[in-house]
């Protein structure tokens, strides 16, 4: 038994390093998607202290809109632009209809409101686009669909080109976002707003403008996530559940930290895949990916309640 847990898996890894690489790569790609969802959550949390339960459904909604518009006959890239416009309209309406009347209410009320947004988007999306699973317009967007075969150490490693595209696009998106937040006036305003609303207003920051901006950025991230995930698994409302994977990511990474969300997402993606292949399937009958991330997060929380990368604010009394 101990041998099965502590020795055999590692022996397998060493015996077939190409297979190990393959597992890590698969994990990395799903990890990136977790990280993107977590990133949307972190952005909104930092600028408004709202835990946005609707981030997952926003992913589905963005992907559905994109595919739906394409099916109505718009060219692929026009559909992308139109979807961005829809996401902006969504951000604007959420600020106007939901957030503005609730300014200053306890956080839990705002959290409940985002559950309301989730349910609304599920119903609204089904009415407009129908509930059946759709094919993502991968090829039409110019995303390559072939695969590259490598032979490290005489083994076999297959990298799908669309996964490579996802990794590159996600990397660019994150780099751009970090630069935007860290180095620009608007980015600074977003960070400031999260720290103190009153002070932010006193230096000329408009709450409303920033909230619309942040929800729009979250919408953009949702679209990228939706395209990427849709390309791998099709577009359906079942996608929404991947949003729950962002929860353990945030527990690991902390709700405030962008780099935490990214590293947390990648770690969970890769660790859950490793665990599934080397421990879950041989010992536990598989399907561990649904719960592994949560258990890992709980263990981390036992030792570091603020998450691995959370900002620890020291309060002076």
């Amino acid at each position: 038994m101990l041998n099965d847990i502590f020795i055999a898996p590692f022996a397998d890894m060493i015996a077939a390093p190409d297979f190990l690489l393959q597992v890590l790569w698969e994990g990395l790609v799903s990890g990136i998607l977790y990280a993107l969802i977590a990133l949307g959550l972190v952005l909104i949390f930092r600028s408004s202290r709202i835990f946005n339960f609707a981030q997952g459904i926003m992913v589905v909604f963005a992907a559905l809109t994109l595919v739906g518009l394409y099916q109505m006959g718009l060219p692929a890239w026009v559909s992308v632009a139109a979807t961005l416009a829809v996401m902006f309209a969504l951000a604007w309406s959420i600020e106007r209809v939901v957030l503005r009347p609730l300014v200053g209410q306890p956080d839990i009320i705002l959290f409940m409101a985002t559950i309301g947004i989730t349910l609304f988007l599920i119903g609204f999306g089904e009415i407009i686009f129908g509930g059946e699973t759709k094919q993502m317009i991968t090829a039409e967007l110019g995303i390559p669909t072939g695969s590259i075969t490598l032979e490290p150490w005489g083994g076999l490693l297959i990298l799908e080109e669309k996964d490579i595209t996802i990794v590159i696009v996600a990397g660019l998106l994150v780099a751009g976002l970090l630069a935007f937040l860290g180095k620009t006036r608007m980015g600074r305003a977003i960070r400031a707003l999260g720290d103190d609303h009153q002070a932010a207003m006193s230096v000329g920051i408009s709450l409303q403008t920033i909230w619309v901006l942040v929800w729009f950025i979250a919408g953009m991230i949702a679209l990228v996530t939706g395209v990427a995930w849709g390309a791998r698994a099709g577009v359906s409302f079942a996608l929404e559940v991947i949003a729950y994977k962002a929860l353990p990511v945030l527990m690991l990474g902390g709700l405030e930290s962008i780099s935490g969300a990214i590293i947390g997402g990648l770690m969970i993606g890769m660790l859950e895949k490793l665990f599934e292949i080397y421990w879950g399937q041989p010992l536990l009958g598989g399907n561990t990916e649904t719960w592994f991330a949560f258990v890992l997060a709980l263990i981390v929380l036992l030792f570091r309640p603020q998450g691995l990368f959370g900002e620890k604010i020291i309060e002076r009394v």
């Binding site: 751009g176 630069a179 935007f180 180095k183 620009t184 006036r185 608007m186 980015g187 600074r188 305003a189 960070r191 400031a192 999260g194 720290d195 103190d196 009153q198 002070a199 932010a200 207003m201 006193s202 230096v203 000329g204 920051i205 408009s206 709450l207 901006l213 405030e256 900002e311 604010i313 020291i314 309060e315 002076r316």
Partner: protein
């Protein structure tokens, strides 16, 4: 000397300009409670104007009216010759009114430098897409504004804490960072809400010196609230005294000090 006539010269020989801000018959109520009742006063260009009064007199409410956080039920606010419509705080800030808070409102997770940079927001105009791409004017703008901020950091002697997250700073330094952020906006009118509250004697002296220097060096008009009488009398050119939401005195420190109503409010009256 008649202050209402416009320009005047202070005791220490500084020339004070015309009226910058005028509050006319302001009344502010919260439900049934009247926080400010029918108060009028003005603030001149280049002046250090104090609003004093015992706790609960309505001083902070008055400052919140000026900075747009509260909207009075009655009365008018005139700023630089124009009647001001009801404005949101960020709109007031963009007009050139900066403020500090009684309970220090800083961005705790950000460094001193970043906190002060937020004060420059109203001066940074590059459109969002350029900032996002870090392209065109955006970088040059950042550099120019950074230079201005460094000047203020020098001025307030906080070089050593530039990179420190402000959440870790001691109280007195936080107050100074907050002042720096307000100054970074190069405000036409600077509002200070109890700048010396909770400070020890040495910190109070430092803060007084900075306030005088700011007024002297940049010519900034300053309105401040304080309940430490001694400090106020030394600092300010003219003083409004409030008690229970009413104005009970207005004039130079000497005039106010001799005002019987003021003495009663501070020392209590025997009935």
């Amino acid at each position: 000397m008649n202050a209402l006539a416009g320009n005047y010269t202070t005791a220490d020989g500084r020339k004070i300009g015309g009226v910058m801000m005028e509050m006319k018959n302001i009344t502010l109520k919260f439900g049934g409670v009247t926080a400010i009742s029918d108060i009028s006063f003005d603030i001149h260009e280049g002046e250090i104007r104090a609003i004093i009064g015992p706790n609960g007199a309505g001083k902070s409410s008055m400052l919140n009216v000026i900075s747009g956080f509260y909207h009075p039920q009655e009365g008018e606010v005139w700023f630089r010759g124009k009647k001001r419509p009801p404005m949101k705080p960020y709109e007031v800030a963009r007009q050139g009114v900066a403020r500090t808070f009684q309970n220090i409102a800083l961005f705790d997770g950000m460094s001193t430098l970043d906190n002060i940079m937020t004060g420059r927001l109203t001066h940074m105009k590059a459109p969002m897409w350029r900032q996002a791409l870090w392209w065109g004017g955006a970088e040059a703008e950042e550099v120019v504004n950074r230079r201005q901020v460094e000047k203020i950091i020098d001025f307030l002697e906080i070089q050593h804490i530039r990179k420190t997250p402000v959440g870790r700073l001691p109280y007195g330094l936080k107050k100074r960072v907050e002042l720096a952020r307000a100054l970074a906006a190069e405000p036409k009118l600077l509002l200070l809400d109890e700048p010396m509250a909770g400070m020890n004697v040495e910190e109070k002296e430092d803060m007084s010196r900075f306030i005088l220097d700011v007024n002297d060096e940049f010519g900034t008009t300053i309105a401040l609230i304080e309940h430490d009488m001694g400090v106020v009398m030394d600092l300010s050119d003219r003083v409004v005294v409030m008690d229970y939401g009413r104005k009970i005195g207005d004039g130079t420190p000497d005039e106010v000090r001799k005002n019987q109503d003021v003495i009663d409010a501070y020392l209590g009256v025997e009935h």
